[in-house]
């Protein structure tokens, strides 16, 4: 544990996680200002090794790898974040509603979600992308919708758990309306498991998007997210050129860092005054 003023005691793992997450977020947001070269411009030879001009060397077409990585961060993070936001709002709202309203709404929604979840996400994603164009809005929508099923299940379970607690019944007996019950009684107690799930969903979105792009069905050229960059550079591996390992490694690093941060937030929110153990 290390003590940081303003944030309290942080375990070393979370600190590393925070560092890398901020690094990637920074790169994503400020890409145009910090990338040394434009992302899609060919400025060197194919797969040049590391040099002063190109810190990470060049890629399969001669583009600066570092710049592509930075722009790739932007695309990866943006799409994953948007998809997660969509998945979360959709899943959480419907999940809460199902738990509180119950009745036929709950039954129909839950059966439908069960149905969607009985097809593996990657397979369903592939099926749908075989007929839809792989534009960024489509990707966000498909990923968001598919992922919302898991968020739905979790929010519904959490909300149902809380809904049967006596303090919710006390509020109902008082005559409180549904809005008060959802937002003031249930939601504050559902935050901690939901927040940690947010982190996991984001990681999953990053991995899912990268897998799709790796298979050629995600982000289309000339734009490229990290998964697409792995695809572009994979031919080099056979020749002993490790260029593809860099975006692959970055994905791994991002996923692990967010995991560490999400873990830390989970333990912090459960120890807050009045916090429940999830």
């Amino acid at each position: 544990m290390i003590a940081i003023p303003g944030l309290g005691r942080i375990p070393v793992g979370a600190l590393i996680g925070l560092f890398f997450t901020s690094l990637f977020l920074f790169a994503a947001v400020f890409a145009p200002w910090i990338a040394p070269y434009p992302g899609s411009q060919i400025i060197g030879g194919v797969w040049e090794p590391r040099s002063a001009a190109h810190w990470l060397g060049t890629d399969n077409l001669g583009r600066d790898l570092l710049s592509r990585m930075i722009y790739g961060a932007r695309i990866t993070v943006f799409i994953a974040a948007a998809a997660t936001a969509l998945a979360f709002s959709l899943g959480a709202i419907l999940g809460f509603a199902a738990a509180v309203v119950g009745g036929w709404f709950d039954t129909i929604m839950s059966r439908f979600v069960d149905l969607l979840m009985s097809i593996p996400t990657l397979i369903f994603g592939l099926v749908v992308l075989s007929v839809l164009p792989s534009t960024i809005p489509v990707l966000i929508m498909v990923m968001g919708l598919l992922d919302s099923t898991r968020v739905y299940r979790l929010s519904r379970a959490v909300a149902a758990d809380i809904n049967v607690m006596d303090f919710v019944e006390a509020a109902k007996l008082r005559g409180e309306g549904r809005r008060w019950i959802i937002f003031r009684e249930i939601l504050p107690n559902a935050l901690s498991p939901l927040v940690s799930e947010l982190g996991l969903r984001f990681i999953y979105a990053v991995l899912f998007l990268s897998a799709l792009s790796f298979l050629g069905l995600g982000v289309q050229p000339p734009d490229s997210d990290w998964g697409g960059m792995v695809r572009e550079n994979k031919e080099g591996i056979v020749f002993g050129i490790a260029a593809a390992l860099i975006p692959a490694g970055a994905i791994a690093a991002l996923a692990i860092s967010v995991n560490l941060v999400a873990d830390w937030i989970l333990t912090r929110t459960t120890s807050l005054k009045g916090g429940r153990g999830g």
């Binding site: 009985s118 996400t121 099926v127 839809l132 790796f214 591996i237 056979v238 593809a244 390992l245 692990i256």
Partner: protein, 321 residues
């Protein structure tokens, strides 16, 4: 068995539900490919096609019929073993899938055979020495591994073991009549990747399932009777652990179904995953529908087995009041 009839009823119900689910999934897959805004015939024949040619192709493909009719004719075909014809190369899908399915099952089988016992063993170790350094290391590694994309693991392995050390081929080509040992060498790396991916998820779940059992009150009772650790695990923990562990294994084998897709592409392995991805890229709808359905069926089937084992292993159901 006193509860025989009751259990049979529950199992039958679950199977019926599974079949119903499969039908619903087939509808979903069919619908999923019907949202195509454009025109299949157009994308096959290209821009230069004459209207007559397009018309002919559409009729040939049955695209002029309403969706419901097309669904049922497709479904009928599937149930009789006819999976249709690929749009891109006019080959019969069922015959194309045959050998590929065998290859995928071969790969998945070996990955399962290694990962399942390993996951259970590691889970047992983690629980035996829980909260100690071994447990933390095992759990930490598992956690990190679930964050690693498969292609990362795959290309790292290829880079070191295939390219630098040349122990294994970097492309896992297999063909009919290949000697067994060569075949094993070819799938060594992809199986390793699959094993690692599935192991990471499975290990945390087996640990949780075993821990749950070991913390039960009846385990304490056995300890307070003076039984040795070994006897406690053998007589009390094990019978109750079968159901949850089988459940975990089934759920994770379902993971395998998905993992195999990316792994086959990484290693250019001629299996179902490679087949699917190729044809998705070519927008070959019949192939996508057929393969998608097969994958979904396997996934549902594994979950079904998990549920049935849970039913069969429940003492309350086997011996009702």
């Amino acid at each position: 068995m006193a509860g025989g009839a009751e259990i049979l009823k529950l199992v039958a119900q679950r199977i019926a539900l599974g079949i119903l689910l499969l039908f619903a999934v087939s509808v979903l897959i069919f619908l999923g490919t019907e949202i195509l805004p454009g025109d299949v015939a157009q994308s096959i024949l290209g821009q230069a096609a004459t209207p007559q040619a397009l018309e002919n192709l559409r009729r040939e493909l049955g695209l002029d019929q309403p969706a419901v009719v097309r669904y049922f004719s497709w479904l009928g075909g599937v149930l009789t073993g006819d999976l249709g014809t690929a749009l891109s190369n006019r080959l019969d899908i069922a015959t194309a899938i045959g050998p590929r399915l065998k290859n995928t099952l071969f790969l998945a089988f070996w990955a399962a055979v290694v990962s399942v016992p390993l996951a259970i063993l590691l889970g047992l170790l983690a629980v035996r020495y829980r909260n100690g350094p071994i447990d933390k290391m095992i759990s930490g590694t598992a956690l990190a591994s679930t964050s690693l994309p498969e292609f990362f693991i795959g290309y790292v392995l290829i880079y070191f073991f295939a390219v630098k050390l040349n122990w294994f081929p970097s492309f896992s080509t297999v063909y009919e009549g290949m000697p067994f040992l060569d075949r094993m060498r070819a799938i060594a790396l992809p199986a390793t990747v699959l094993t690692l991916v599935v192991l990471a998820h499975m290990m945390r779940m087996t640990r949780a399932a075993i821990l749950n059992i070991m913390q039960s009150a009846y385990i304490e009772t056995a300890e307070l009777k003076g039984l040795s650790q070994f006897d406690i695990i053998r007589r009390h923990a094990f019978p109750n652990a079968i159901a949850p562990i089988v459940n975990v294994v089934m759920l994770n084998l379902a993971f395998l179904v998905v993992g195999v897709v990316v792994v086959e592409v990484i290693f250019v392995y001629p299996g179902m995953g490679q087949y699917l991805v190729d044809h998705v890229a070519r927008r070959d709808v019949p192939v996508v529908q057929a393969v998608g359905l097969i994958f979904a069926a396997v996934y549902i089937g594994l979950n079904l087995v998990a549920d049935i084992v849970a039913i069969l292993a429940n003492p309350r159901l086997r011996h009702p009041r």
